[in-house]
């Protein structure tokens, strides 16, 4: 049975996730230099204590960066199973739950940023990742029921 008809598209997404993962890893490695350069630039006028907050900014970017890489990796796995015509497996439920936890971590990290270094976009990030957490949790539950139904159906002869 063909569950997912857009095989080339899912494979393309899989490679896009892989590319983004490597890009994110590169950014994470060069993060201390990037943040230092950003702070030295004049555009930080909105953050008068930016140089004092160097380590805090570095920490939140590292935590959210690592979480983002994990999310991308799990998404890559999800797209790969979709391309193989078998998305309703228990591994995908685990992947979605991992994405859910990582989104929650990012939301919490940026929630602290609202207190320390507030900006309107930080609030949007927190809102978006909280919504992502809830969506992923609901999707994981949905996938879990789908896996149960599929197992039941497969074992009906």
């Amino acid at each position: 049975m063909k569950v997912f008809p857009f095989k080339p598209l899912t494979l393309l997404l899989n490679y896009l996730m892989l590319f983004l993962m490597f890009f994110a890893a590169g950014v994470l490695i060069s993060l201390p230099l990037l943040v230092k350069g950003y702070i030295n630039m004049d555009i930080t006028y909105a953050m008068p204590n930016a140089s004092k907050l160097y380590f805090y900014i570095l920490a939140i970017l590292y935590v959210s960066g690592v979480c983002a890489i994990i999310i991308l990796n799990e998404l890559r796995k999800l797209f790969k199973t979709c391309a193989l015509d078998n998305p309703f497996i228990i591994q995908n439920v685990t992947s979605l739950m991992k994405i859910c936890y990582m989104s929650l971590v990012i939301a919490i990290v940026y929630l602290t940023k609202i207190i320390v270094l507030n900006s309107f976009f930080t609030m949007i990030v927190v809102f978006v990742f909280l919504m992502a957490t809830v969506f992923c949790y609901v999707l994981a539950q949905l996938f879990e029921s789908a896996v149960l139904f599929k197992t039941e159906n497969d074992l009906t002869i």
Partner: protein
């Protein structure tokens, strides 16, 4: 609670019919018939049961058996 046991191998032995032969006659795959024979199936469709009874020339009761759990 008891459980339903499939005694397909007994009937197959009586009719001297192999797994592949029966699977072909019934119109299901070897793998699915094997699941059924080894009591791994969760449910059986009436159409499958009808086909098996037709091919083996028996009644559903000859294939299915209800057994109470020993622990209860």
């Amino acid at each position: 609670m008891g459980q339903i046991i499939i005694n397909l191998d007994v009937m197959m032995a009586k009719k001297k019919m192999g797994l592949t032969e029966l699977a072909q006659a019934v119109g299901i795959t070897n793998a699915n018939l094997s699941i059924l024979k080894n009591n791994k199936a969760k449910a059986i469709r009436f159409s499958t049961l009808e086909a098996i009874c037709h091919v083996l020339g028996c009644q559903p009761g000859d294939i299915l058996e209800y057994r109470e759990d020993v622990s209860e």
